[in-house]
Amino acid sequence: MENSLLLTYLLLIPFIGSIALLFIKAEKENLIRYFGLGISVIAFLLSLVIYFNFDPSNSSFQFVHKFKWIENLNINYFVGIDGMALLLLVLTTFLTPLTLISSWTSINKKVKEFTFFMLFLELGMLGVFVSLDLFLFYFFWEAMLIPMYFIIGIWGGQERIYAAVKFFIYTMAGSLVMLVAIIWLAIHASNYLGKFTTDLVELYSVAPLFDLSIQNYLFIAFALSFAIKVPLFPFHTWLPDAHVQAPTAGSVILAGVLLKMGTYGLLRYNLPLFPAASLHFASFMSTLAVIGIIYGALVAMVQTDMKKLVAYSSVAHLGFVVLGIFAMTQESMQGAIIQMINHGLSTGALFLLVGMLYERTHTREISYYGGIAKLVPVYSFFLLLVSLSSIGLPGLNGFVGEFLILLGSFKSTVLNSWWYTVFATTGVIFAAVYLLWMYKRVVFGKVVNPKLNDLTDLNKREIFVLVPIIIFIVWIGIYPGTFLNVSEKTSDKIIERVFEPPKVELK
């Protein structure tokens, strides 16, 4: 059964939920928490319905729903998903309730506003993944900035205002460039289509026909916006500030979903719309990605703050994803998609774990800790598992993604050099260094700091948050086929669009 309205319902759930929330009295904090959780769980259940109704053997967009929105500009409300979007969609609805549970006690001021912004953020994120109209996409892309800005700015740490404003202006500057590119693309495409439209499916058929120079400009404009979001070196400087200052829930969503929008955008827009330019820029983008992998890892190694360390590790991990995208082989593309999910799970869990420790001690300095393995064994176990997953230990999820990406980039005919793979592989080694070294300094050794003696282990709520993530970490590690199957047709299709772009004469 394919119900074309399912995606619209999925968007309506957080929307109606966030509006309804405004009518609950701000004093009833627990009611608000349960309400927000309930809404996000309903959204998760609906996304599961979508997941099970999805046909992975079909490469075209599914659950398509379309109606006219702004008629004179041919802008439609046009939603639909393919395998890649589906995975990210489920990741979003999966992480949102978990972050709400994780901030049950840590967020205790302005609970109503917090829950409102979280639901609104979920709406924006889901919207980005399901939009099939460039305009609608831009609409959600921007709308999502506002709640994140407030989440960092109101509930963040000491330097939250600086971080929030930097985050906002950085991303906004990038996306404004994209806006001009969208308009320009639509106007230029109207020479071929005979009408001004931002319909992605129609643009797929004509944008690859543009001259290489035009494609290059458009590629740069889109890629700039996405590179800031990913963040690709050298556009990463907003990320450590935003991550460190954001509350745990904000960091988890930021790392888990928001960063994926950049790589998702590259796969959804840059590659299929501008195939010639993508091939032209493939080595350049891959070089930036490899620099990001090594740079992120080296900087992570010297951090004294746990959250900053995890933040820089994101730069490195997302570098792998970008490398996978621009290696443009079937393996690397699949690896990039699964690595997007992996990073969402592993880094999300790392941020959760750092946040749980911070909630107890109010410091994230690595030197403050030491020897907590005896004090909080359950915590130490989870931290080890998640760290290993982030490093890429075989049997856990990180390995699958990185292995596929490295395999693909090695035999890539587009990159045509195994140096990318060689340098990228050092990133895996560095990841082991910085994460295990942090683990050693925090968990092992003797308890030097007497203040640590009152440290309490994870409670049931916290374990309840972590266990679902761990299940998927292990699942993907042992049997990634479940998820790779879903995205297989999508990555084939993207590669086909790059190497065999449509050829139609001018109308």
Binding site: I70, L73, F139, A143, F150, G153, I154, V165, L176
Partner: protein, 476 residues
């Protein structure tokens, strides 16, 4: 002279406002408590004129011996003027009492200014433009200094008057030069003979002087100097009127005159000038707004920047550009009215609470006001789904279609800069705490005025299509 009864119906909005002025003057003379009655009377008058203009929008005609056009875009402008005047009256009920200028004349002068704007938007003759402009401007000079006991208001009024009179001088001189060559003041005749006239240096100088005169009225760089001082010194609600309906009226006259020329593809003559002032207005307004500490001055510089975005539409010289400007003006009118509305609510007695710091902690003190103000700031910054975004979207499309992509890119850069100072208000309201526990008090009428404006911002943002369709249908 009216030829038939249909023409009377077509100018009914003007008749309503004219009658409103006359009746209000009589009421003001014979009734001691007129200040309590006149706002509501004015609002009813404005709304009926505005709604009638909307109903009658498809009846286009040219009347009074080719002096005045009605219907189509003209009526859309009339609607914008009247609705914004009605909102200003609604905001003023409480404000002018607080401000210490509780007189009924206030509303009568707003009415006369609206009459002037309506004549400008409908003008088919340069003399008519001048007439409308003067009716509007003189009303504005009076409104700016409405509280004659306040020295800042006097300063604002005098400054506005001196510079405004100077700009009008340019305008009249320009009209005289145009007349000297064209031997007519009829806009249609001039535009149909434009190719013959455009070779003449004096004629072009006249057009340029005309443009300069209006650059002053729409607050474009480098004729913007009066804006911050006048906004700061005038009553806040009046500053709201200046920046919305006043600017819309200036643009309506520019569209009336230059819009007639675009059909003949003469835009290349003006595009360099218009692009230049657009670029400087946007960048100057956005950059200087960053260092402001007074909310009204900040909004003044933001209004200079917005004039720049709208000029992009004019510089593009195509129908999309003109439609984009009109949409932008409507969106901007409601955004700015709402913003000035909130400022007038937060403002205390004797012009206090106008610096940005007095907004600290408003998110906690008055979540509802702060929520509305934050929404307005996001709208002004041009973030979807609010109307301000579509205004920019339309003028950028027009610019790219006219091969002025670089102008759209400058617009984008300026938007990115402007985000900083709009966001700063949000930062101050939500992320900074304040010592004071004051909750700004407001009447229902004021908050309803703001809510109506905000609702229009959202509606124009979510379904901009039907409004832009309406505008475009009259431009073709």
């Amino acid at each position: 002279m009216l030829n038939n009864i249909q023409e009377f119906y077509n100018i009914l909005p003007l008749v309503i406002i004219g009658g409103l002025i006359l009746i209000s003057v009589v009421i003001e003379i014979y009734w001691d408590n007129s200040e309590k009655f006149l706002p509501w009377f004015s609002i009813i008058g404005f709304l009926s004129a505005g709604i009638y203009a909307l109903i009658d929008v498809s009846n286009t005609s040219i009347i009074f011996q080719n002096m005045l056009a009605t219907g189509g875009v003209v009526n859309i402008f009339w609607l914008i003027f009247n609705v914004s005047a009605a909102i200003v009256c609604l905001l003023s009920v409480n404000y002018i009492k607080k401000y210490g200028a509780y007189y009924g004349e206030y509303y009568i002068i707003i009415q006369t200014s609206v009459l002037g704007m309506m004549l400008m938007a409908g003008a088919k003759d340069l003399i008519m433009i001048f007439l409308g402009l003067e009716i509007m401007s003189i009303s504005f000079y009076v409104l700016a200094g409405f509280n004659r006991k306040l020295s800042s208001a006097n300063e604002a009024s005098l400054k506005y008057f001196l510079l405004g009179a100077f700009a009008t001088g340019f305008l009249v001189y320009g009209i005289a030069l145009i007349y000297g060559k064209a031997t007519t003041t009829s806009i249609d005749v001039i535009s149909s003979n434009f190719s013959a006239l455009s070779g003449n240096v004096l004629f072009l100088a006249g057009v340029l002087l005309f443009l300069i005169g209006f650059s002053f009225k729409i607050a474009a760089f480098p004729f913007h100097m009066w804006v911050p001082d006048v906004y700061q010194g005038s009553p806040t609600t009046v500053a709201g009127l200046f920046s919305t309906a006043g600017k819309a009226a200036g643009f309506s006259a520019l569209i009336v005159t230059f819009g007639a020329l675009f059909g003949g593809a003469y835009s290349h003559l003006f595009t360099p000038y218009l692009s230049a002032i657009a670029v400087f207005s946007m960048l100057f307004g956005s950059i200087v707004a960053i260092i402001q500490t007074d909310i009204k001055r900040m909004l003044a510089y933001s209004s200079i920047a917005h004039a720049g975005y709208m000029l992009i539409g004019l510089a593009s010289g195509n129908i999309d550009g003109v439609a984009g400007i009109i949409f932008y003006l409507a969106a901007y009118t409601f955004m700015n009215l709402a913003a000035f509305g909130i400022v007038s609510i937060v403002e205390g007695k004797d012009e206090t609470n106008l610096d940005l710091d007095s907004y600290a902690g408003l998110g906690t003190r008055s979540p509802f006001l702060a929520g509305l103000f934050a929404l307005i700031m996001f709208a002004l910054a041009g973030i979807p789904p609010f109307a301000g975004f579509f205004g920019k979207y339309y003028v950028f499309i027009a610019a790219i279609k006219a091969n002025l992509t670089w102008l759209a890119i400058v617009g984008i850069i300026s938007s990115a800069i402007s985000i900083y100072f709009y966001l700063r208000i949000v930062v101050i309201m939500y992320f900074k705490s304040s010592e004071s526990e004051d909750k700004p008090s407001y009447l229902n009428s004021e908050i309803i005025a703001v809510i109506i404006s905000v609702a229009l911002i959202i509606i124009l943002g979510l379904v901009p299509g039907s409004f832009i369709d309406l505008i475009t249908s009259f431009l073709k």
